[in-house]
């Protein structure tokens, strides 16, 4: 069967499209599936569901190669908060809660790179409340660097002052919540 879109290459992927009213199937080649307009994440609706994408490009061919039918697949990590397994996440294409991001953090860079043109790190807006914490953390880092320099140069009195300052900042940070994983 030829790809419904380019009618050149053989169709290798079946995409099931689900809207509120009906279901359709499209047979596409890899290339068209990847580039075609239907393969888009629209603001309103995802004409092509993301789970199809995940299943094909992540789950299907690489992660669980040729074991798809096997019921005893490795489930991968599991979210302690909502019980979603990574395997199930690939099936439904959606996270169950914010903690899933922590639980699957090892798998996510690869997944995000596929979805976001190779990008894996957020570079945009930061909530104001977090901005303050970022500023504190940055200041703490600076002080620690200065403290180290002071110790190396045997300026112990200065180092002690800096240490007190650092402790104060640390206190401020921990008042604001968990220092380890700011969410």
């Amino acid at each position: 069967m030829l790809c419904e879109n380019c009618k050149e290459r053989p169709a290798t992927v079946v995409f099931k499209q689900e809207t509120l009213n009906d279901k359709t199937e499209r047979h596409l080649c890899d290339k068209c599936a990847f580039y075609s307009q239907t393969f888009s994440f629209s603001p309103d609706q995802e004409p092509l569901s993301i789970q199809q994408f995940l299943a094909h490009w992540l789950g299907g061919s690489e992660l669980f190669s040729e074991q798809k039918a096997d019921e005893r697949l490795p489930d991968g990590p599991k979210c302690p908060n909502c019980d979603l397994t990574f395997h199930r996440f690939l099936d439904i294409g959606k996270f169950g809660c914010a903690t899933c991001y922590v639980a699957f953090s090892g798998q996510l860079p690869r997944l995000f790179a596929k979805l976001h043109n190779g990008h894996t790190q957020h570079r945009g807006k930061i909530p104001v409340s977090l901005n303050e914490r970022f500023a504190l953390k940055k200041k703490l880092e600076d002080i620690r660097t200065k403290m180290q320099q002071a110790v190396e140069n045997e300026r112990f009195e200065e180092a002690a002052t800096l240490r007190d300052e650092a402790n104060q900042l640390k206190q401020q940070l921990s008042d604001g919540g968990d220092d380890q994983h700011v969410i």
Partner: protein, 362 residues
């Protein structure tokens, strides 16, 4: 404040023909996806969870200084009312799914809608008429920042705003520009352009149509990636691609006009004829003819028709609105007949004497 007024007011703010490049760009939309820490995402949530999220939102919105919102749950609306909100693009089709626990908060002028318990806990949507990417973002960003004061957003230093779908993670922002591109469609250039644009991290798709056919030659350009680029970078890229499309479209229009003016005129006036004289007007045909008449106005070929009336008709011709107008449920056939009447009336054409007056519900 009652929610009812949002159904009465047909011509919603973004549908007014104004803003930059209003001849080609119909509207600009920004959508920000946000979630609350310590709550399961809506996909997992029970009715109780959803109510808690909805309550938190209502409280946060009440304390806002510069904005006033009116809210309702989807359950409290009739199916027709829900459909009208979708047709006005104020809520997404997913929000009105009866199996979910969605609700919406709308600003007075309908510029901002906050969808609650859609795919994410919060989706802030801002629609402006014409090409106004920066203005629309500024407004959405402002609402987001005001909300954030009272809500604990799920945010991670590495991944940014944590969303239900990994395709939104990062900025959680989807920015889109809705454009009327008839000349690029007629000359089939759009087919080449769409795949090229998708390689730039942007997506072009038809506005209402599923599949490749764009209903009424209306396309939506939006960003595909949300991670690794700042909001400003995404908006800048979207803006430059939109401007290139606008320039392209303008050039194609000039070329069409120069190459075959009489053929073009023929097509555009026939479309006007169809809209003003049909007795049965299916929505796909109406959309196609609206596109041609709009092009005719833009090119100065068709005169004496107000663009705002065309915009109004675009909204009005949809099933939900037609049925509200008729104040009853209509079959598809009945809708096509009512649609034809609506177009004749709004475009100011005297009906032929053969038609019975009492059959006119308008």
């Amino acid at each position: 404040m009652s929610f009812e007024k949002f159904f009465k007011q047909e011509l919603t703010g973004w549908m007014v023909a104004e803003g930059e490049h209003a001849d080609i760009v119909l509207s600009t939309r920004i959508r920000l996806a946000r979630n609350l820490q310590d709550h399961l995402f809506p996909i997992n949530a029970s009715q109780e969870d959803a109510n808690r999220v909805s309550q938190a939102l209502n409280q946060a919105v009440e304390t806002m200084q510069d904005h006033h919102f009116t809210g309702t749950t989807m359950k409290d609306l009739s199916p027709l009312e829900r459909q009208i909100l979708v047709e006005k693009h104020l809520v997404s089709p997913q929000l009105i799914n009866p199996k979910k626990h969605g609700s919406v908060l709308l600003s007075e002028d309908e510029t901002i809608s906050i969808m609650v318990n859609e795919e994410d806990h919060i989706r802030i949507q801002c629609i402006y008429p014409g090409f106004q990417i920066d203005q629309a973002y500024e407004h959405a960003d402002q609402v987001d920042s005001e909300l954030e004061v009272n809500l604990n957003y799920a945010f991670d230093e590495t991944f940014g705003y944590l969303t239900s779908c990994p395709s939104n993670t990062g900025t959680g922002m989807r920015a889109s520009v809705m454009m009327h591109l008839p000349a690029l469609t007629i000359t089939k250039q759009i087919e080449r352009i769409i795949p090229a644009i998708s390689r730039l991290g942007m997506v072009v798709r038809g506005s209402y149509g599923e599949g490749s056919e764009a209903l009424g030659n209306i396309y939506q350009v939006s960003n595909q990636i949300t991670l690794g680029k700042s909001e400003e970078e995404i908006l800048k890229d979207l803006g430059s691609i939109s401007k290139r499309l606008i320039a392209h479209e303008k050039k194609s229009r000039e070329l069409l006009l120069a190459k075959s003016e009489v053929h073009l005129e023929n097509r555009l006036f026939r479309a006007l004829g169809t809209l003003t004289h049909s007795r049965i007007l299916p929505s796909a045909e109406a959309a196609k003819c609206l596109s041609d008449v709009r092009l005719g106005i833009d090119l100065g070929i068709i005169e004496n028709i107000d663009m705002n009336i065309l915009n109004e008709l675009m909204i009005f011709m949809q099933p939900g609105f037609l049925q509200q107008y008729a104040e009853t449920e209509l079959t598809s056939d009945e809708r096509d007949i009512l649609r034809a009447q609506l177009f004749r009336d709004r475009l100011g054409v005297v009906r032929s004497a053969t038609q019975k007056k009492d059959s006119d519900p308008l």
